[in-house]
């Protein structure tokens, strides 16, 4: 081989070597790009794209146009704050099984805070009623009302105790003239009355099941 031939052979050898290296680099870069490429990050003002923040445990917080949802690693909703599926402003807390246990929301624009048992029954709540008077309600496991603190339709404050049949057994209330305590039997008959009577007097009486007064004072 002459001098030119030797020189060309060396250049070709370098070329072959460098092309092989370059091809390897290009393939590696292509693989890297395909493996890691992501769409451009959405702008914060883009309401169409939820913002999701995730930690190493798998817990996520998702911010959408409807509000904030925090889910545990199992994907169960544990906290929600925003506008719920029925369009109501709402704050909801769910237990580890995903069951809704506590909710504060506006029901037909009336504020309610409800606490639910494991089976989803309403057991305690504080709310404003239709007349926008405040009330506290406690229900049993059958979701029957057993205790209530509220204002009557006449506007008087009242404590009511109810049987398992949800019928009123006792109530303690007052109007501007005088307070009164009423105790009833399971038939709904008043058996004890203490406090102000409608005639303006104040006293106490005990009655039998036929509503006949057995004793009265004064």
């Amino acid at each position: 081989m002459d001098r030119l031939g030797s020189e060309l052979a060396a250049r070709v050898a370098r070329l072959e070597s460098s092309r092989l290296r370059d091809r390897t680099i290009v393939v590696a870069v292509a693989v890297l790009a395909l493996a890691t490429a992501q769409a451009p990050a959405p702008k914060v003002t883009d309401t169409a794209v939820p913002i999701v923040v995730r930690d190493a445990s798998g817990t996520t917080a998702t911010l959408t146009s409807k509000g904030l949802t925090v889910r545990d690693a199992a994907g169960r909703t544990r906290t929600f704050a925003g506008v719920d599926a029925d369009g109501r402003p709402s704050v909801d807390l769910g237990d580890a099984s995903g069951q809704l246990r506590e909710s504060m929301y506006l029901l037909n624009d009336l504020p309610v805070l409800r606490q639910f048992d494991k089976t989803g029954k309403r057991r305690a709540e504080i709310r404003l009623d239709k007349t926008e008077d405040g009330e506290l309600l406690i229900n049993d496991a059958s979701e029957k009302l057993r205790l209530a603190l509220f204002r009557t339709t006449a506007g008087d404050p009242q404590l009511g105790l109810y049987g398992s049949d949800e019928k009123l057994r006792a109530y303690f209330s007052t109007d501007d003239a005088s307070p009164y305590l009423v105790m009833r039997d399971n038939a709904g008959t008043t058996r004890v009355y203490a406090g102000g009577y409608k005639d303006g007097t104040i006293g106490i009486d005990i009655r039998n099941a036929a509503n006949t007064v057995l004793w009265r004072a004064p």
């Binding site: 250049r11 070709v12 460098s18 092309r19 370059d22 680099i25 870069v29 292509a30 890297l32 790009a33 493996a35 890691t36 490429a37 923040v53 995730r54 930690d55 190493a56 817990t59 917080a61 911010l63 904030l68 925090v70 544990r78 906290t79 704050a81 704050v91 807390l93 769910g94 237990d95 580890a96 246990r101 506590e102 805070l113 606490q115 048992d117 057991r123 305690a124 504080i126 506290l136 406690i138 496991a141 057993r146 205790l147 603190l149 404590l159 105790l161 109810y162 049987g163 057994r169 006792a170 105790m183 009833r184 039997d185 399971n186 058996r191 004890v192 106490i204 005990i206 057995l214 004793w215």
Partner: protein
């Protein structure tokens, strides 16, 4: 093919090779500059205002701060309970709605951090309770359904002992008033015998007055 032609072809190859290398390096730089971790972990997002307020969205929820003081937190609390917490300007927790070991609780705290009012479901029966406490964290009033399933309103002394309670079973309601020693002094309503009436007793529990 002459040596000159061969040399020209090798020249072209070398130029093409240099061009491709520059291109490959450019792509590599671009890939390294724009590559993101494929893992789904993501950093908290923070929104700040000129007054020093900020809202931080993390995987645990949202924390709103005035300066460095947390005022509102929504999501998982430090004990991993789902929670909504409201704190005052000193950073003291004043109102919290949360699930304590999956049990719903709403608590209102005073400035000293004492529970002063709360509504919750009991840990054993899941019965609802509403409780008002004094500054010493002693229960003074409670409205609840008890362990026997009976609704009850109870009033307590500063020692936490019940002084009066009104309740009902399905047969009849009853009201009991006790003295400081815990003795019933006034009973009105249904007795365990099935009758209804009232009596007033002395400290030893002896009826002084009974009707009917």
């Amino acid at each position: 093919m002459t040596d000159a032609q061969l040399a020209a072809r090798v020249d072209r190859l070398e130029r093409a090779s240099r061009r491709e290398r520059v291109l490959a390096l450019g792509v590599l730089v671009l890939a390294l500059a724009t590559a993101q971790a494929p893992a789904p972990l993501s950093s908290p997002r923070v929104v700040r205002d000129a007054a020093g307020g900020s809202t931080t969205l993390s995987a645990s929820g949202i924390v709103v701060r005035a300066g460095t003081t947390v005022r509102t937190a929504v999501g998982f609390d430090k004990d991993r309970n789902p929670s909504i917490d409201l704190t005052d300007s000193t950073g003291a927790l004043r109102e919290s709605m949360y699930l304590l070991a999956d049990r719903p609780v709403l608590r209102l705290f005073d400035r000293a951090g004492k529970r002063r009012a709360e509504m919750f479901l009991a840990s054993d029966t899941e019965n609802g309770e509403f409780v008002i406490r004094d500054a010493a964290d002693v229960t003074r009033l409670a409205a609840f359904v008890g362990s026997k399933g009976l609704p009850e309103l109870a009033l307590y002394g500063t020692d936490g002992s019940a002084r009066a309670y009104a309740s009902t079973d399905d047969d009849s309601p009853y009201l009991v008033m006790k003295d400081a020693a815990g003795a019933s002094r006034v009973v009105i309503g249904g007795y365990t015998s099935g009758t209804m009436g009232m009596d007033v007793r002395d400290a030893a529990g002896t009826a002084l007055f009974s009707k009917p």
